[in-house]
Amino acid sequence: MEYTILILVLPLLSFLFLGLAGTRLRPAAAGAVGTAVLAVVTAVSYMTAYAYFFGQGRAADGLYPTLTPWNTTWLPINDTLSIDMGIMLDPISVMMLVVISTVSLMVHIYSFGYMKGERGFQRYYAFLSLFTASMMGLVVATNIFQMYVFWELVGVSSYLLIGFYYTRKEAVAASKKAFIVTRFADLGFLIGILFYGYYAGTFSFNPQTEALAAAGMIIPLALGLMFVGGAGKSAMFPLHIWLPDAMEGPTPVSALIHAATMVVAGVYLVARMFPLFIGYAPDVLHATAIVGAFTSFYAAVVACVQSDIKRVLAFSTISQIGFMIVALGVCTSADPHSGGLGYMASMFHLFTHAMFKALLFLGAGCIIHAVHSNEMSAMGGLRRYMPVTHATFLVACLAIAGIWPLSGFFSKDEILTACFAYSPVMGWVMTAIAGLTAFYMFRLYYGIFWGRENRTLHAEHTPHEAPATMTLPLVVLAAVTLGAGFIPFGHFVSSNGTAYDIHINPTVAAISLCAATAGIALATWMYARERQAAAESLARRFATLHTAAYHRFYIDEIYQFITHRVIFRCISTPVAWFDRNVVDGFMNMLARGANGASYLIRGMQSGIIQHYCIWFLGGALVLTIILLFIR
């Protein structure tokens, strides 16, 4: 399957082409180039997936083989340790290829309508190509170091795209925040990789067991540090602060990068290292479950009171990634039939979530496009104006709430089953969060499409349905969301590679459906009508809690305090003083010395050839004399 290299090379070429020659093209032509390339990439990805899962199928041992159709040594470090670049195909990487290419293609098409007439349209498509290439490189990485390289590239493209409207101050601040926070987390990742490389003697994902056993406590430490990097990218508490701000970027970008693909890189990382986590660091794995559960709960609470629709979706993304991390964290063995179900559930949820969350964001984009605002106060009653957006948005909301027969129901059900199997407490907590999810998603849904309509605004400027380039991706993604639950996902991906039949646990399904229905019912009662007395009186009664949640429990302010007051004042100021006076002082002295010395010796270059010869001979003789003496 050597042709898989195209999946990496084509978007990269498209990036180079659009980046270098893009401004010479008409915007529509540049977009067409980017989209056409991506359509080819998508086709190749599907072909790869088909050939991998059905063409060659399972090997004799009943597992899907891990293939490396392409590999090259990039940087040899010593005889045994080297950094490779290549392509590795295994069930999860092939699954990711399908997810990324699908969502990316949808976003490319959608952006035609959404970004129409924007300044820098060509640049936008160039960056999208760069992102796609990097993300593909990340998932097919043959080793942890290649993953890290592409991980950073993904971070860079995310930075570029968040700051796409670089004339807006908020966008610039948000892009910087995203870059710095994730970069900070990546430091942990890098240290983890270096520990791992040093002690395991390889950067590959399947090291020799003797080396790992000999390394002792270092491997859990390394894996923990790697998780820090993953937590940064996947916006786990307390490193989540960049994601809501990242919504300053264009909405299709939020759909692609900050909902469907890049933010799940942390989940993918844990899944990639899963055999090591299970084998050598189960405690670290369970700790990640706690982090995930807390993040999930926190984000769900915050999402209940946000008024900016993209922020609601951002927090819901954080919360859903928490679900995936929890599902991985509650695994106790690699066998899907006893304790390893979470792995499959997590990957399944990653897959379904990518589709319906992209759908939600793209729908939000249509709405923002129609009312020119992110605030829910500018919306309400939009179902009359935007039927297609309304229908697809509803599908996505039902999916994320976990209503049968939409895809979210199946994946969430598997997660909850895995949680109950791990401990009832975890199961009930996650069920409660699932109920909360249904509540805030329907609060959002009613706030946009029903509820209190902003008639003055809508009279001034009647909202209209988005153009076909924008609604087509919505319909496609909605269709996927409707059908994806029936994919026998366990046949393709499971924790130890053997086929696993997804079966609905009736008790868990009943509990989760009840929780979801309760959440939806509560939201309907509170927000579906013109008058929202219950919601207002609740907000008044719990004013403190409401304000605190609205301000995301002041986590950003705490960061602000720590960075500005503590780090800047107690560390940066003294360091700056040292830098300015001692380091710069030394450099200035060097510069002044160099300047002075160059005045002093300028006589040497007199331009007179006789002098040159004297220097020549004199120099040779002086050298001889020195050598004679030191002999």
């Binding site: 060097l590 040497m604 270059q605 010869c613 020549f616 040779a620 001889t624 020195i626 050598l627 002999r631």
Partner: protein, 477 residues
């Protein structure tokens, strides 16, 4: 020895001689129309010559009783020099299309290729006699090239200074070689080490020999001709002088120091320590104050020569690899810088001062970016090739235990960074009401610049080239 061996192991020299003879006949036979295609013909022939010889023959050999030696690394180096010469020839085309040089274009190419042939012989020499002949073949035509624009005062002056200094250094070197012959009774590299004992006379001989090559590489204190010659010579010649000629000489210096003066390793290492420190520091101090870009690059090339010597000082095989890699990277960067200067000079009526380049980016973004990449590579900023080549020579010297020299060289890279960035600042930041107007460079210059830019970018990112060089035996160890 038989004649097939000559054909195999001297194929670089033989094919280059064939190219020269073909060009010679072509120059005589072709009419004025044929002559207008001279540079194209030369470039094609030179390209063919490079391609035919690009894959090194395995194994080492000695021809003519040890007079001429062959090793795969020699072949690689010769190919590199051919590529350098090819780039120079591509860049020279526009410059030669002038009324006063139109009729003598053939001379330029034939003289350039003759010096290249001289360098081949220098590299392949196994005897001081052949080495000296090669050296002279590489320097005498060079003087003609330097004075090629002989009606211009600066060019004539540069030619005079070059030939006089070259004669002086050759004389001194020959004097040194005669001492060597006197004390050892042989001129063959292989036989000499056994009879080298480090007596005062031999030390004197070694220093004199070193000064001859120090002149070619322009190391302090044998460097004084450099600035005047680089400034006065036509830019294409300066480019050739600064990389191709220097690269060949540096390699030969290392080979002879290790092979012949092996028993005197302590002495020549001390000598190099002194010379490196002075070369890098003095050149940097001078470079700080230059206003003329060609003069500025002259001093930059002296300090780069000092860095090249860092690869020599350890006297190790990895040092040899680092040297060849450094020369390759330096060639890409310096030829790019000179290429841009040449284009600007030819199209803007001789503008070469740093002030002329103010606001250059606004009118000529592509040329400015190429220049910037070249300067970044020369300064050793990662991830460009220059960073890796500097890293390799530093680590070669560090492994040899020359910590103090490496430290001084590192401090000097900071100073160097400052003056390289001065040019970048002029091009990108300093405003100018009358910047150099937008230029259209010709095809040859474009190809040359593209090749150099590709080199600057690719050599840094691919480790296979360094390893490829490392895998080639040099025939010394």
């Amino acid at each position: 020895m038989n004649y097939t061996d000559i054909l195999i192991y001297m194929r670089h020299e033989i094919s280059l001689m064939a190219v020269i003879i073909v060009l010679f006949v072509y120059d005589l036979a072709a009419g004025s129309r044929g002559r207008s295609r001279f540079s194209a013909v030369t470039c094609v022939l030179l390209l063919l010559h490079t391609l035919v010889n690009i894959i090194p023959v395995h194994g080492t050999a000695q021809l003519f009783g040890g007079m001429f030696v062959y090793a795969p690394l020699h072949s690689a180096l010769k190919s590199m020099l051919s590529v350098g010469a090819l780039i120079v020839c591509l860049q020279a085309d526009t410059w030669l299309r002038r009324d006063d040089t139109e009729h003598k274009r053939g001379e330029f190419y034939i003289l350039t290729l003759s010096t290249l042939l001289g360098m081949y012989f220098m590299i392949g020499a196994g005897n001081f006699l052949l080495f000296f002949i090669g050296l002279e073949l590489a320097s005498i035509p060079m003087a003609c090239l330097v004075a090629f624009d002989k009606y211009k005062r600066y060019s004539a002056e540069a030619g005079a200074k070059y030939i006089l200094t070259a004669l002086f250094s050759s004389g001194l070197m020959l004097y040194g070689i005669s001492f060597l012959y006197g004390t050892t009774g042989t001129l063959y590299f292989d036989d000499m080490p056994a009879r080298i004992d480090g007596s005062p006379l031999q030390i004197l001989a070694m220093v004199f020999f070193f000064s001859g090559l120090g002149f070619k590489i322009s190391l302090v204190p044998f460097h004084l001709w450099t600035a005047d010659t680089y400034q006065g010579a036509p830019t294409a010649v300066t480019a050739y002088l600064s990389v191709v000629s220097k690269g060949a000489a540096a390699f030969v210096l290392m080979a002879i120091l290790v092979k012949v003066f092996g028993p005197m390793v302590k002495q020549w290492q001390t000598m190099l320590e002194i010379v490196i420190v002075f070369s890098i520091t003095v050149a940097n101090l001078f470079a700080l104050r230059q206003k003329d870009l060609k003069r500025f690059l002259a001093f930059s090339s002296i300090s780069q020569a000092g860095y090249i010597m860092l690869a020599v000082i350890g006297g190790s095989a990895i040092g040899m690899t680092s040297l060849v890699f450094y020369v390759l990277v330096y060639m890409a960067a310096n030829l790019a810088a000179f290429g841009v200067i040449a284009v600007v000079e030819q199209h803007s009526g001789g503008k070469v001062s740093m002030e002329d380049y103010n606001g250059f980016y606004r009118t000529n973004p592509k040329l400015a970016v190429v220049m910037m990449l070249a300067l970044f590579s020369l300064a050793g900023i990662p991830p460009f090739a220059g960073f890796f080549s500097k890293f390799f020579v530093f680590s070669a010297a560090f492994r040899g235990g020359f910590h103090a020299v490496v430290f001084i060289a590192l401090i000097n890279t900071v100073i160097a960074l400052y003056y390289y960035l001065l040019v970048v600042k002029a091009m990108f930041i300093t405003p100018n009401n009358e910047p150099i107007p937008a230029l259209r460079s010709d095809l040859g210059a474009k190809i040359a610049l593209a090749l150099c830019t590709a080199g600057i970018l690719a050599l840094g990112l691919t480790s296979c080239i360094f390893e490829g060089i490392n895998a080639l035996p040099s025939g010394i160890w």
